[in-house]
Amino acid sequence: MEAPGSASLHDSSCLNLWTEENNSIISRWRAVIASRNDSMLKPTLRQCHRALSQLLRKIQGLPAAVPSLSLELTVLYNTLVFQINVADGFTDEDSREIEHALFRVLDARGLVRGEMSIEELWQKILLNTNMQQLAPVVHRLAGLQGALWLAANQLEKLKFLFEALSGTERHTAPSSCEPDRDILMLLSTWNVPHDETNSLLLAQTSQDLKAILYTAAAFLQGLQLMEEGDSRAAAGILQEAVAGLCSRRVLAEIYTSIGCCCQRMGKPQMALQYWKQALQVDFQCLSALYQSLVLFRHLEKTDAELEALSLLHKALEGSSQGASSTSHLLVGVELLVQVPSLTSVLAVPNGSEVKYLLARRCLQTGRIEEAVEHYLDLMAVLQEEGWQPQEFLHGLPRVPEVFLEATSALLQREQHQDALTVSEKIVSRIIDLIPNRLTILLRSDDRGEEEQPEQSPGVKSSPPQLTSSPALSHEKKESLNWILWASTAYLHQGQALAHLSKHKDAVTQFSRCINLLFKVQFIRTGTASDEMAQEGLYRQEQVLQALKSLALLGRGCQFLQLGKDKDALRDLQLSLQANPGHSEAIQNLLEVLWRLGRKQEAAMYWQKFQSASVPAAAQQERRALPLYLLSQSKKSFPLDEALTGKIQDYISAITEDVPWP
């Protein structure tokens, strides 16, 4: 291709050579894009980048001269576009190159260059009226500079640059009632000169660049506002971004962000709408799905939530996560918008976490069969991949707790043998670790825990004490956990055996559980003022009590079955002591008392039970229990009609004896 106006066919001036080289590189790139050959993209990208940077070095090796300025700046523009793409973002080197090029422009013009900051450089160049024929090139470069500053979140500089570009002075625009929109206004009014239809090919046209900048600016500002908490304004600006030029993925992300804003504004339905739109645009945008299911949980729409969860799980299992976006644009919005707030918006749990959420939800809502299926799948996955839940998902349990929940689900589904197997797994790992005694002081002051002398004799150097809560040392917390888990496992085993009618074995397991539980001793000292700091410990204590009551109840029932009434009585009484008002316990107690012939006591209990209202605290307590225990406490035991009838008769018989006054 020859420069226009050149007469000779073999004009091999430098400018022509360089122009040809530039064009060949760009056409190669365009050819690869057109062929849609994904595997060749990255290598070609690198090759083009290397070739262009070599060409740039060649050009910049000579002193700057006016005729070659436009070529030089164009080649620099192309190189930077490729460089940004190869490096997957902006680096300091890019800004240095631009600065260097600007200095060369000044040199070529013979203008003095002193110690100028980059903004002053730009101002000088842009306000220089001699640069008219360089205008398109300079504007393009300014666009890149703007992109750089946008990515670095230096919005002031960006504003200043585009003000200079549009030639307006720095004054407070009267129409800026929305200061956030200033930049967008500037960008939209930026009059990009048309690319000359000369022979220099561009990696990305100026119009595209402008559009990208606009979208990216809007998106970034929207995210920033969202982070600051101003959701309404954020939503407004993000709407602007929607109208801009971006890939499908980015569009979906924008919709997701708008949805989040709506949610924070308290408009759940609108949020759901936007998320649906996001999914329609790009079905790979799983964050929208995740956000919506969180919302469903919040709204307690269980079916929708479960459906969303299973969809999400399928999506994660199915396609590969990192689908490469074959955008024909080199500088896309993705490169410009790489901020942590976006990452938090777009966070999605991985496969095993979703599976867990699904299983848990099923268990919580009572869909036992599905729950069991999901838990069993989950345990298989855990063995393979491990369990490393991400930080943004709060409240995910530890591995033993997952197993315990699975056991509980199995019990509820009456797969007792499987429940036994799973519990055994837990028990076998923990049982060697449990200390003989664990004493926990609940203090009100911050002095923290004192080591009991019998707890750890003879250890000379202990591992570093890393505690996040001052009240209890880490080791002790973990020991407490072990005890609770092991005892729960024993409890489950006992219950499974009970249902399998292996009463003696059931009794053994229950006894083990109880023994474990009695190893822990909570000692209260001081005033109960600083309860907030020890909330976790109180909770553990309640769990302990609940476990005790359940275990004693279980054993009591077994004794009842075995006919050992006295032991049964003792256990049931202790169980009621730990957890008064438990209907099942009362029922069994009544039965025992009746069998033992202590009818008066039976009647007393019966009356007490009738009159006592279920306190709200019991409800609260139930909610504080972990999931694997909830199922036990939730069931309201149906009262044995026959027995209650007998008792009532008895009571009436007794009261009949007493004449009415």
């Binding site: 855990l382 591995v399 923990i430 570093p464």
Partner: protein, 872 residues
């Protein structure tokens, strides 16, 4: 204490830098019969034990820092510094190399060089320091700015040939500044009890199974329940951290501050060793009932109950499962080993570690003793046993050979690969007890041996020192000789100035000759050089019983530095008669005796009696030495004339020394007579001349030299003054006493010769007629007068000799009247005839007595000498 008998075989030698291999970057890996060896350079060597040669050399783009064998896929993962991880297949390389090397000589083919390029690059990361492969998961440790990053990566490609890794987890640790930071971090993988390790390569010093009771409290119950392996990483700054691969880092409470922006969680430090970690391993402490000490059974099956971390300076941390009465849990204890430890490894039953001087091993004792609770003592293991293998920098996993021995492959500090076979003495440890007498004898023998060896050493040392010294001396001598000889023709590098001086003593004045040796060379003349002065006088015909005599003086030179002068002086006497016989030839030379250098038993091929002609310009080995002639000079009467200070005849001259001679009795008698005569006061000075001086008329000899000749010869002297003074000055030039004379422009002097006789010199200008046809020739007449014949003849001889030296053959001879010449000749002939006739008559014993003959001879002599020679 079990004894280890070992045999060491050296297999091959590999290149290593001159300073030896540094710690931390070398590895020896054994796989069946192949040994893979990296010595920190760009090459990875594969050595085959059966064929006993290097089979393949892999060349990498960067230095090889770490190699891992991935046995299930038969691959090698190699870490190149600042590059990344490469994957190399373990198959025979000659199938892979595209250009095949020609196979020469049958079996002994040269090792093929396999260059590794970027096709084998599986992970590009220039900050990786080390890595490990566990169950297909890659764990890498990278160094950031001030932190360490541990990344867990998984293969997402289904094919194992081309693994592509994506990150699934990352942990960060702040790096400290203590410790030797040039070492690389070490990794070790711990499996919980019950985990399936069969698929894992049983690389017995990298993967261990640990009891659950120790595993769970340390690494968390989650990891134990999921059978997740835990990677322990020891950093060069001393921190030891653990990374569970499938569970959250324990404990699950988050450490990272909630307001930190970066997302990477921090990991948990297990311990801080405060020195660089060299290796981590696990031991099985409590033996089961069926096990004895040793490497029995598969290493996979051994479940360890003690984790061992060993630091560079010798600190060893053991995390042992401690069973207390109420509970059991981990107990941390520190022990100290002698350091510094370069490398080591730990198998489930023994620990090997290498210090620069030795290789130690210790293993679990067979019978356990009661644990000693004092700190620093290793209570549960036998004391370290030395294997006498020094400076090993890399060890491979010990393997069991078919004979039940343990085989250990090691790489030494200098790059040598060696195989060490340890046979464990499994019987009850018994030492052959030595009796005390035997022990004492052995000790004596050893001491004697030491003594003799040290003696020999000292003797040899002395001999060597001596030889060195001799060589240096010889070198110096040769240098000096060359310096002196090379300038023979030009100027004298060392000058030797010989002068005659009269020394003033009380009654006698001896004549001393002084030689001043000036060292103008650049070398200093050190001990061994002597200045030899050879004084010889020819026999004087007019003095009775005088013979040719020669005396040699030698003055040793201690240390004559360059530009220094050394003056030696000695009296000039005649030993027997005490008379000074002039002229005397003095020659100075420098002599260096080689006997000192070469020793007594060197036979000198040249001796003084040899027939080789002696030339003065060649250095000779004379009497076993090197002699360099310096100067030769004649001392004659004119040198020794003494003058009165102011030519005042009244001042008596000091007498010459005549110590040896008893004074002549006649002289004494006559003197005594004279002293009675008061008139002789005025003429006292003549006493010293001897009585004969009064009564004998002075003898005069004269020499005439043409002025032209003199002027030509004495150019510079004639310049200022007139010819006569110039000539006189020239004659007395070398006379140290003649300063006053030279100061005054005299034409006539009177002096005393060493024998005490007066000598009178007068120089006048005359013109000689009848010699040349052209006219009278201007000439200078030198008149020598003395009352004594000896004095006159001595002075005359001196003058003649000087004139001989001065006058050079003239190109043209002046026209001479033949007639005059003829006249001269006839005159002389007449004298000759008279002498002959006198001789004849003496022979015939005619009436002429000796006195008359003597008088006649004297008269003839006088006529001969005056007018004397004419030199034209």
């Amino acid at each position: 204490m079990a004894s280890h008998l070992q045999k060491v075989k050296y297999l091959a030698e590999f290149q290593c830098p001159v300073s030896g291999l540094s710690a931390g970057k070398h590895q020896v890996l054994c796989h069946q019969s192949d040994i893979y060896l990296s010595n920190g350079s760009k090459f990875l060597y594969m050595y085959n034990k059966e064929e006993k040669q290097v089979k393949a050399i892999y060349e990498f783009p960067g230095r090889v820092w770490h190699v891992e064998l991935v046995v299930p896929q038969k691959q090698l993962y190699v870490l190149c510094s600042h590059n990344g991880i490469y994957c190399v297949s373990m198959k025979q390389p000659d199938r892979l190399v595209k250009q095949t090397d020609p196979v020469t000589e049958g079996d002994r083919c040269s090792p093929c060089l396999v260059p590794i390029d970027s096709d084998s690059w599986i992970l590009q990361d220039s900050s990786i320091c080390t890595f490990a492969v566990v169950n297909g998961i890659l764990v890498t440790v990278s160094k950031g700015q001030s932190r360490w990053r541990i990344k867990v990566l998984q293969n997402v490609n289904s094919s194992q040939e081309n693994p592509k890794f994506s990150q699934i987890n990352q942990l960060e640790f702040i790096s400290g500044t203590t410790g030797n930071l040039s070492l690389l971090p070490t990794l070790c993988c711990i499996f919980p009890q019950g985990a399936d390790v069969s698929s894992e390569h049983a690389d017995g010093h990298r993967t261990f199974t640990v009891k659950a009771a120790l595993f769970s409290p340390l690494f968390g119950l989650d990891a134990a329940m999921l059978n997740s392996p835990v990677v322990l990483c020891g950093f060069p700054d001393g921190q030891v951290c653990c990374v569970p691969l499938k569970a959250l880092s324990f404990p699950t409470m988050h450490f990272s501050c909630p307001d930190m922006k970066d997302q990477t969680p921090r990991g948990m430090i297990l311990y801080h060793l405060e020195q660089s970690v060299v290796f981590i391993g696990a031991l099985r402490f409590h033996q089961g009932d069926s096990e004895t000490g040793g490497h029995h059974g598969m290493i996979d099956d051994i479940v360890c109950d003690c984790i061992v971390v060993v630091g560079h300076q010798g600190k060893m941390l053991t995390i042992k499962l401690e069973v207390k009465e109420e509970t059991q849990g981990p107990a941390y204890k520190e022990h100290h080993l002698p350091g510094p430890i370069a490398c080591g490894l730990c198998t489930a039953s023994s620990v090997y570690y290498s210090t620069p001087s030795d290789l130690f091993t210790f293993s679990i004792a067979v019978n356990q003793r009661k644990p000693d609770s004092s700190p620093g003592v290793l209570p549960f293991v036998s004391p370290p046993v030395s294997l006498n293998l020094c400076s090993a920098v890399a060890l491979s996993t010990p393997t069991e050979t078919s004979e039940g021995e343990t085989e250990l492959v090691a790489l030494s500090f200098k790059g040598r690969l060696m195989v060490c076979n340890l046979s464990k003495d499994t019987s009850e440890p018994q030492h052959p007890r030595m009796t005390s007498a035997q022990a004492g004898q052995k000790i004596k023998d050893l001491l004697a041996g030491i003594g003799s060896v040290s003696e020999r050493v000292s003797l040899l040392k002395n001999a060597v020192t001596q030889k060195n010294r001799s060589l240096s001396q010889l070198n110096q001598v040769i240098n000096v000789s060359c310096a002196l000889l090379s300038h023979q023709d030009l100027r004298q590098p060392s000058s030797c100035v010989i002068t005659a001086q009269w020394n003033r003593l009380l009654t006698q004045d001896p004549l001393f000759i002084s030689c001043v040796l000036e060292n103008k060379t650049g070398y200093s003349l050190q001990q061994g050089w002597t200045l030899c002065v050879h004084v010889s006088s020819s026999s004087c015909p007019y003095i009775a019983d005088s013979v040719t005599s020669a005396v040699e003086y030698s003055f040793p030179i201690i240390n004559l530095l360059p530009q220094d002068k050394m003056e030696v002086s000695f009296p000039l006497t005649h030993e027997r008669s005490g008379r000074l016989v002039l002229p005397v030839t003095i020659s100075c030379s420098l002599f260096y005796s080689l006997k000192e250098i070469l020793g007594k038993d060197v036979a000198c091929p040249w001796s003084a009696n040899s027939q080789t002609p002696q030339s003065s310009s060649v250095a000779l080995l004379e009497k076993g030495g090197i002699s360099l002639p310096l100067k030769e000079c004649d001392i004659d009467t004119l040198h020794c004339l003494r003058f009165r200070r102011d030519q005042d005849p009244k001042v008596p001259l000091p007498s010459a020394h005549r110590s040896h001679l008893p004074p002549d009795p006649v002289q004494i008698f006559l003197q005594a007579l004279l002293t009675q005569n008061k008139e002789a006061e005025a003429s006292n000075e003549k006493d010293f001349q001897g009585v004969g001086a009064l009564y004998m008329r002075p003898l005069v000899a004269s020499v005439r030299v043409s002025t032209e000749l003199l002027e030509r010869g004495l150019q510079e002297l004639c310049a200022g003054s007139n010819v006569c003074c110039a000539v006189l000055q020239w004659l007395l030039a070398d006379n140290t006493e003649a300063d006053t004379v030279k100061a005054q422009n005299l034409c006539e002097v009177q002096g005393t010769d060493p024998d005490g006789k007066d000598v009178h010199l007068r120089v006048t200008e005359v013109s000689v007629d009848d010699v040349c046809p052209t006219g009278p020739v201007p000439a200078v007449e030198i008149q020598i007068g003395s009352p004594s014949l000896a004095g006159m003849s001595g002075a005359h001889q001196a003058v003649i000799r000087r004139l001989q030296r001065l006058v050079s053959p003239i190109s043209h001879s002046p026209d001479l009247r033949l007639k005059h010449l003829q006249q001269l000749i006839t005159d002389r002939e007449m004298l000759l005839k008279e002498v002959q006739s006198l001789r004849d008559s003496m022979c015939l014993r005619k009436e002429l007595g000796s006195g008359a003959a003597a008088e006649k001879l004297l008269g003839l002599y006088e006529r001969l000498r005056n007018p004397g020679l004419l030199i034209l």
